[in-house]
Symmetry: C2
């Protein structure tokens, strides 16, 4: 730790031409404030969401739901991705857990729909490419 503070001091000396102890303390405080913005809960929720979408199969499922703009039956989606029924089911379970899709039972059929969050994410991916 104090080793990394040494490195930071040398960096500030480079940047400022000199480096009083005040400068170092200031920068340390600024960086600490920055870190404080990262709440443990936010991080794990966001990372969970991103990791859920960051897989070929799951991304495709969500993309299909978003493009269709409606609820789709598992039986309609499965033929569009190249994995087993079981894999599709596992994938949807994880997506639901991450809040990217919602599930509804209708008789013997199960239907999934993309959430607002899923729509927002794909939209921003499209828009920043």
């Amino acid at each position: 730790m104090s080793e990394s503070v040494d490195r930071l001091r040398r960096y500030l000396e480079d940047e400022l031409g000199e480096c009083r102890n005040d400068d170092l303390q200031n920068r340390l405080q600024e960086l600490e404030d920055l870190e404080a913005l990262l709440s443990e809960e936010t991080v794990s929720e966001d990372v969970g969401t991103l990791a859920a979408l960051g897989n070929d199969t799951r991304y495709r499922l969500v993309r299909l739901l978003v493009e269709s703009g409606e609820e789709l039956c598992v039986c309609e989606i499965t033929p569009l991705v190249d994995v087993s029924d079981s894999a599709v089911s596992h994938a949807f379970a994880r997506l639901a857990e991450a809040g990217l899709v919602t599930k509804r039972k209708e008789g013997r059929w199960r239907k999934y729909r993309a959430t607002r969050r899923a729509n927002a994410l794909l939209t921003v991916l499209d828009g920043s490419r």
Copy 2:
């Protein structure tokens, strides 16, 4: 494959009360069109981006850069995450590869900055929580 078409036919019979062959062909075409929107390249680029951000360490690095709004030196960021220098370096390499950060050398220091895409993604995560 024809097995899943059978399932789809039964589904449509449920939905429509009946199901002529035309209905089935129509729906099959609609679903095929939906699938066609998924270009192989788009999928792998987006999935790469999402998977890169979907890791605790890498997410934190990007979040710090985005919050700071400026270029930061590796030496400033490393003390804020709880892994080795080496891990930070590996993480930045992957983020750069995914187009989420850019790198600049300045003498013996290396500085990273979040890209527009990184900013957009974190913004939408914040806004859809």
